[in-house]
């Protein structure tokens, strides 16, 4: 059985007369030690999925339907108190901006010890030793000095390493990383991604990597989901999806990349923009931008179904491959 299983997950925000559905039913699984990528454009719902797993959706938003099953427990039925034992302990999260994640008035060490002692009974001395060991694991030079440093004294790359060290402190089963390197330069991104892959392998940690960067997903993950307007439109082996995308949206995204176009020629562009979640068109949400849309696409919502070893939510996927 999969370590994490998300079934029919819906997240909704009540409006005055209606409901805005930020997630409109998504399903996926994650095995132990697996690296899963979730890609999509802003507003597709990829961060919402991560927040929903950890029960971090801010009021008045709520999980409207579906189940999140982790290690036999249904997470969305747990109380806040029970959830606190999961968050940071069994499932850790890494956010985009390390400056916002770390508390600027506490030293790195204080924050690490605090995190350890919140979940475990451990002496100050042992906690410090463990924290320094984790800082060493993420390749921070002179970790015993950095233990006493404040976040502002560290560079962006080092800060993100500290955040990873904190995420690893309690040996979680899953790390959810939401755009962990978007704020960093490419050379630092390469180091951080390399580090995360190595650590996930060594500790058998499952990784959910949320990003808009298809190239990063291609380099780092084994399986990927493509999201559009609150639904999963394609799922499959990462290299397979990138080499032979089935959904017209995935195809459009890949073909819009400069790498996929002859230099100097106009890029293949997807016309239009993603619909607002308050105003998702009926049928397939992608139909107004799709070249292959017909009446069925405008009326009937395509389900995610198996095709060629992956999954795709498109009425015409067979014809297109």
């Amino acid at each position: 059985m999969a370590l994490l299983e998300v079934r029919g997950l819906e997240v909704e925000f009540p409006l005055r007369a209606s409901k805005l559905k930020a997630l409109r039913g998504i399903d996926f699984t994650l095995d132990a030690g697996e690296r899963l990528g979730i890609v999509g454009e802003s507003g597709a719902g990829k961060s919402m999925a991560a927040y929903a797993i950890l029960n971090l959706i801010s009021e008045p938003g709520r999980i409207g339907a579906g189940e999140i099953v982790f290690d036999g427990q249904v997470l969305n039925e747990l109380s806040n108190e029970e959830m606190r034992h999961i968050r940071g302990n069994r499932i850790a999260m890494i956010f985009q901006d390390p400056m916002m994640t770390l508390n600027p008035v506490l030293t790195v060490g204080t924050q690490m010890v605090e995190c350890l002692q919140a979940h475990r009974t451990i002496s100050d001395k042992d906690a410090k030793a463990l924290a320094i060991q984790k800082l060493r694991e993420v390749a921070i030079p002179s970790p015993d000095k950095r233990f006493d440093a404040y976040p502002h004294e560290l560079s962006g790359g080092l800060r993100q390493r500290v955040v990873i060290a904190i995420a690893l402190l309690l040996d979680p089963a899953i790390i959810i990383a939401d755009e962990p390197t978007t704020a960093l330069d490419v050379t630092i991104q390469a180091e951080i991604m390399g580090l995360m892959m190595e650590l996930c392998d060594n500790h058998q940690v499952g990784l959910i990597l949320i990003t808009h960067d298809l190239a990063v997903v291609s380099d780092v993950t084994q399986r990927m989901l493509v999201m559009y307007a609150g639904r999963v439109v394609e799922e499959g082996d990462t290299q397979e999806v990138i080499a032979n995308p089935s959904h017209p949206y995935t195809k459009g995204l890949l073909q819009a990349l400069p790498q996929k176009n002859e230099a100097g020629r106009p890029l293949n562009q997807i016309p239009g923009t993603m619909p607002s979640l308050a105003d998702v068109p009926p049928g397939c949400a992608y139909n107004p931008r799709c070249d292959h849309a017909d009446d069925r696409c405008r009326q009937e919502l395509p389900e995610l179904r198996a095709l060629n070893g992956g999954k795709v939510a498109c009425h015409h996927a067979e014809k297109l491959t």
């Binding site: 454009e41 802003s42 080092l158 490419v186 050379t187 190239a215 290299q239 080499a243 819009a256």
Partner: protein, 326 residues
Amino acid sequence: MSGDVLVEVKDLRVHFPVPTSFLSREKPVVHALNGVSLKIGRGEAFCLVGESGCGKTTLGRTIMGLIRPTAGEVIYDGASIGDLVDRERQPYRQRMQMIFQNPYASLNPRMKVQQTLEEPLRFHRPELNDEEVGAHTRDVMTSVGNDPAWGARYPHEFSGGQRQRISVARSLMVDPEFIVADEPVSALDVSVQAQVLNLLMKVRAERQLTYLFITHDLAVVEHFGSRVAVMYLGTVCELTTPKALFAKPHHPYSELLLSAIPKLGRKSFKPVKVPGEVPSPINLPPGCVFHGRCPHANDRCRAEVPVLKDHGDRSVACHAVEEGRL
């Protein structure tokens, strides 16, 4: 590069003072640009790449006259414009325009799109009457593929991509010949990024524009640029065509930068291991600024600053390349 030179910078230096206590004797400065020389030919799409803090934005802003150079020259169409006072600079402001990274911040939220677009035109060409201004605005909006009716709306009513297309329209209002585009697509999603890049390429062809394109996205450079300068800590380390750079980077830093780009569909990903981090631009290392992280550094690299030298199809600032050690 071929044809005549539109923009040239010669040994450009920009240093910013660091605020200190009035008692302190030291007056530290941030060395944002340390002797940059390059020429941009008419009609080029010249790209500047590098990581944050390498001085690419400072260079763009200094050429635009938004930052005064500490030393060195900015030459535009044969005239030195680095030291001009505001009144003397005005005719150049009309010829050079800028597009900024964040379309959410660069459009005034309290002005209707029409007002935003008209402002530069009314300032630079006061002789036009309302009707002519209106007609010109409609022409420009149509030429960049925007509905002229957008003029009656406010920026917050538009998506990021639409806003960036409005920024492009604004920059074209005064019929410039040179545009500095500072990360114009970095804030946009992939599908929208393609739309804006296509628009920039289209208007360049239609209006014979010259671009200085500042970006950290090397895939965009490969697609878009006619020449590219790789910058590190306020210096240009390699200057060549995108094709030559991607075929084989010569400077060790260019090599590092290229190896770090994530790539689609490669079988295995072996991340580069680079010792150390970018040094502080306050206390620059002596010699080559990259020597602390360079596997090929020797005593000469630690003492003597390398300058850009021609090397076949490119210019490289590296002692190791010059000596044939690489």
